[in-house]
């Protein structure tokens, strides 16, 4: 008796929960944005968000995609893979998005990409530079170049400048840093540059003097620093304190170094590679810089706002080309796209990486970025 009643109650509960609520007709195309919007790495996530939002605003003003307006729903990953996956699941399952822009940090992107690959939803990251992100994941793309690519570019630049011996100081707890170090070392050997010292430090270290002293005694002509802005600023200051006065090279992580350094003169010794420069002269780039400043009241500080703008551009352009938001046709359209973006013409190779130019940038004594040269693929 009793059990029967309980059983019927359970069945009723299942039935109620199981009923699907009829969804309203969609009048917008929803795209999910995932990025680290809070915490120490928020600068990167917020830059990506600003770049995407800028493009989508312009797109909607120009009529949207296939007659529909586009809406980007942002979710914070907190720079944590688990939270990133939750954000992805929420966007796909609850909001019904048809594409993903992001994530921002490499490990979060790798976690989310694995899920995106399950259902082949188109996903474009503007900032995950590790090689492995797009490997074996046909629906995952990126609009930034790769760690190995920029490390190779730095090595080539150094070789052209006649440098014969270089030292490296890298972060052994950070994938970005170790990846750049390995690629740089390999290419340097090919080009005949001697790695006279390879020193490493931990992720949260703030004192690099013992490593720098070792490097100084090896007497290199240049030092490669695959670091983000804040630690790189510390290293530059400590290097000058121990009288280590040589040329420094960096990669795209350096682009926000001006936020962390007080003595701008130190920066004149730094040369780094970037995805984009505000001094770029193409019409798209000029317009982007002007629009960005008009909307946000500041110049883009991190180049990821430009690559993010391009990611949104590529994704929506592919939806236009495909004439639908179905995953398969959109992924194919991205794969075949040839789009003029802010950071140059974007097309994808077999590994879903963009084939694009590298910008070499240094600083003047006031800390302004100075465009040095552009290296085309």
């Amino acid at each position: 008796m009793k059990t029967k009643r309980i059983l019927s109650l359970i069945l009723a509960a299942i039935a109620i929960c199981g009923m699907t609520i009829p969804t309203l007709a969609e009048d917008t195309i929803k795209i999910g944005g995932i990025g680290v919007l809070t915490g120490p790495a928020a600068l990167y996530g917020l830059s990506v968000q600003k770049g995407v939002d800028l493009y989508i605003e312009q797109l909607n003003a120009a009529g949207g995609v296939n007659g529909q307006q586009v809406e980007v729903i942002w979710e914070d990953s907190q720079g944590n893979p688990t939270v990133g996956i939750q954000a992805y699941n929420k966007l796909v399952e609850n909001d019904g998005v048809v594409g993903i822009l992001g994530a921002v940090l490499t490990d979060v992107t790798k976690a989310v990409a694995e899920y995106a690959n399950d259902i082949q939803i188109p996903m474009i990251t503007a900032s995950a530079t590790a090689y492995e992100v797009t490997t074996g994941r046909p629906s995952v793309f990126r609009t930034c170049f790769l760690d190995p690519f920029q490390a190779v570019a730095v090595a080539r630049y150094a070789a052209e400048a006649g440098i014969k011996s270089a030292a490296v100081l890298y972060d052994n707890g950070d994938e970005y840093s170790t990846g750049l170090f390995n690629a740089f070392k390999d290419e340097a050997e090919v080009l005949g540059i001697t790695i006279s010292a390879a020193e490493s430090a931990g992720t949260d270290d703030v004192d690099f003097k013992s490593q720098l002293t070792n490097i100084k005694s090896a007497n290199p002509e240049a030092i490669f620093l695959p670091y983000y802005g804040a630690p790189a600023a510390l290293i530059l200051r400590q290097a000058s304190e121990i009288g280590l006065d040589v040329q420094f090279f960096g990669a795209d992580g350096i682009s926000n170094i001006t936020d962390s350094i007080s003595d701008m003169k130190l920066l004149t010794k730094m040369l780094y590679t970037d995805h984009f420069t505000v001094d770029a002269t193409s019409p798209m780039a000029t317009k982007f810089n002007a629009d960005y400043e008009a909307k946000y009241g500041e110049k883009p500080s991190v180049s990821f706002s430009a690559t993010a703008y391009d990611a949104a551009l590529v994704l929506t352009q592919a939806m236009k080309t495909a004439g639908t938001t179905e995953f398969g046709p959109v992924v194919d359209a991205i794969k075949n796209s040839q789009v003029e973006g802010v950071t140059g013409v974007i097309r994808f190779d077999d590994h879903n990486d963009p084939i694009k130019s590298v910008f070499f940038i240094t600083f003047d004594e006031l800390g302004n970025k100075v465009f040095v040269k552009q290296l085309d693929p």
Binding site: I10, A13, I14, T38, Q86, E93, D107, D118, G173
Partner: protein, 621 residues
């Protein structure tokens, strides 16, 4: 059906219903990947929190590296499933989870061995360091993928079936049942003799040791077990997310779980479950508030800690059978049967030790640095004797007790208990060899019930293993049941049976003293040491105490040595008295002789004026 069997049945039915509901809703897609992801994360957090509660709540030791054990389990299991591609994923997952748990347990054992011997906050500092060391080691080892971590780990939500919903449902089931198993085993362990031993350490480590609990061993057991469960939780996490980076298992992660334990209530398993569920779900609920959610989350935490400083549930536990009883009392009657009286598993033995002294010291002494706290102490206790140990304040009486119970190791002389030397042995061993004691300042296991206080002392009289405690084998049942009866019997002797289920700290002062004596007797001593039993008692209570001591002597056949300042009590019940002053024995004999001994009077009252002058004259001459 007995009440216990009924409560088992009830819990199992409730769990099966819950599981069926979760499984079918996930398989049908009503619980989509987003919600099932949250539920699985809740499940893993519950395992982490409940296991941390074993160390922090039950054992009372602050551990700050729980995420370190989680990472060991996560990496171990991920590496194993990756390298065992030949066999079905279900099996390799099982092997991986167990191996991950075991490896974490081994690490826990190695860390705990030195750390847990120390008192105070050392464990917190050592575990804190350990968590960071693990992270750095993982980041610099190639098999763990270095800083990049491990990716493309087979995910439970995809691996079990080509149908993604069904596979998600299987994942839900796996996490659900492992969670249930962990909760159940910690719950049953907590109610076994081993659990009581662990809790008694939290309540009062000195008293636990003096009651016969090998405290170091139990600290290690709890800590290792917690590490084992954390390792399993790590394995589940690895195969849920499919990606591992060492960065994730940092100090903050450990703190996150600690917050859950504190919020839920230290020592309450139900509280841990509730807090883990709330704290995992809350950020998801607050997603809509964007960047305000961290503020709201912190505010919610602060508010809860202000209004519930002991945590959401304190040490309270939810019991389904209790709830059932409240709602459906009428059902109880239909289930009622006459309960069989269980047989006593064994009768405790009280040896008769007639001719030789039960306790004897030979020139016992101890020196602290340059200070001679006791020397040449020669005490003999015959069976069934009540002997007093008196002396002015600071004479070294408690030092003698501490020497006899192994709190201090003597620097000279020997202690013979029942013909065997016990000098230098650890306290718990001495207790188990036949010395029970009480303390000058009462040391009860305050938040345990009166009955549980007694049962802690029965610890070494039971023999079932932790495993049979967890699985509640027949041996567990018969021993526990027997001890329950014996404990109540013991309380009845002292007229305390009516308060058996009250909390120890709710008793009036006199009864707390009595309970402490009762607990000392429960360890089946041949010698009972009472340190100022009448301190703080009014004359009526003192009178009662004298009665009690006489009862103890006749019923329990023990020799009693007591320290006391209340001369009426000492003179009233002691058959012989030892007097010590400045760490030396100055007199020995029956009460009337001692009362008139000039040395004793001098020791207590000082030298009379005229005698003083006389002596001074002697010195001049």
């Amino acid at each position: 059906m007995t009440t216990k069997a009924k409560s088992y049945a009830l819990n199992i039915i409730a769990l099966i219903i819950l599981f069926a509901l979760l499984f079918s809703l996930t398989a049908s897609g009503s619980i989509n990947n987003y919600y099932s992801g949250i539920l699985v994360t809740v499940g893993i957090s519950i395992i982490m929190t409940v296991s941390l509660n074993l160390t922090t709540g039950l054992l009372g030791q602050l551990a700050l590296g729980h995420a370190g054990f989680m990472s060991i389990g996560a990496y171990t299991s991920a590496i194993i499933t990756r390298n065992l591609q030949g066999i079905p994923f279900g099996w390799s997952l099982l092997i991986g989870l167990i191996a991950g748990g075991l490896f974490a347990a081994v690490c826990g054992f190695i860390i705990g061995m030195p750390a847990l011997r120390l008192k105070g906050d050392y464990l917190a500092i050592i575990t804190l360091g350990f968590g960071e060391i693990i992270r750095v080691v993982i980041e610099n080892t190639s098999i763990t993928g270095g800083a990049a971590g491990l990716t493309r780990i087979t995910r439970m939500s995809r691996a079990f079936s080509p149908d993604a919903q069904l596979s998600s449902a299987v994942q839900m089931g796996i996490v659900f049942w492992i969670m249930v198993a962990v909760i159940a085993s910690i719950f049953t362990l907590g109610r076994s003799r081993h659990g009581r031993a662990i809790i008694s350490i939290r309540e009062n480590e000195v008293a636990a040791e003096a009651t016969g609990i090998p405290t170091t061993r139990y600290k290690l057991l709890a800590f290792t077990l917690a590490a084992f469960f954390a390792g399993i939780a790590g394995g589940l996490y690895a195969h849920q997310t499919g990606i591992l980076t060492a960065r994730y298992f940092d100090f903050n992660k450990s703190i996150e779980y600690l917050v859950m334990v504190v919020l839920g209530g230290m020592g309450s398993i139900t509280g841990s479950i509730l807090a883990a569920s709330v704290l995992v779900a809350l950020p998801e609920v607050l997603r809509g508030f964007a960047s305000w959610r961290m503020v709201l989350y912190s505010l919610a935490l602060i508010t809860m800690m202000i209004f519930r400083p002991m945590g959401l549930l304190g040490t309270w536990e939810f019991s389904l059978s209790r709830a059932w009883q409240c709602t459906g009392d009428f059902l109880k009657r239909t289930f009622m049967r006459k309960e069989r009286k269980p047989k006593l598993p064994f009768v405790p033995h009280y040896d008769v030790w007639e001719d030789a002294p039960v306790l004897e010291t030979h020139d016992l002494g101890i020196v602290f640095g340059g200070l001679v706290a006791a020397e040449n102490i020669n005490i003999r206790l015959m069976n069934n004797e009540i002997v007093g140990l008196i002396g002015p304040n600071g004479a070294g009486k408690t030092t003698v007790f501490n020497l006899l119970t192994g709190v201090y190791s003597p620097t000279s002389g020997d202690i013979i208990l029942l013909g065997k030397s016990i000098a230098g042995k650890p306290t718990h061993e001495i207790t188990n060899n036949g010395i029970g004691r009480t303390f000058q300042n009462i040391r009860l296991f305050k938040s345990m019930t009166v009955l549980e206080n007694i049962k802690v002392a029965f610890h070494t009289r039971m023999h079932y293993s932790p495993a049979s405690g967890i699985f509640r084998t027949a041996q567990y049942t018969s021993e526990e049941r027997g001890m329950d009866i014996r404990a109540r019997e013991l309380l009845r002797v002292f007229d305390m049976e009516d308060v058996a289920d009250a909390n120890a700290n709710s008793l009036p002062y006199g009864k707390q003293r009595k309970l402490e004596i009762c607990r000392a007797l429960a360890s089946n001593p041949k010698v009972l040491l009472l340190d100022e039993p009448a301190a703080g008692m009014n004359p009526i209570e003192t009178q009662e105490l004298m009665e009690t001591i006489r009862i103890i002597r006749t019923r329990f056949s023990v020799a009693i040595l007591l320290i006391e300042h209340d001369m009426r009590l000492v003179m009233g019940i002691c058959e012989r008295i030892y007097v010590i002053n400045y760490g030396r024995e100055i007199a020995e004999g029956p009460p009337d002789v001692i009362a008139n001994n000039p040395d004793v009077i001098t020791a207590y009252l000082g030298i009379p004026e005229d005698v003083h002058e006389e002596r001074a004259q002697h010195a001049e001459n």
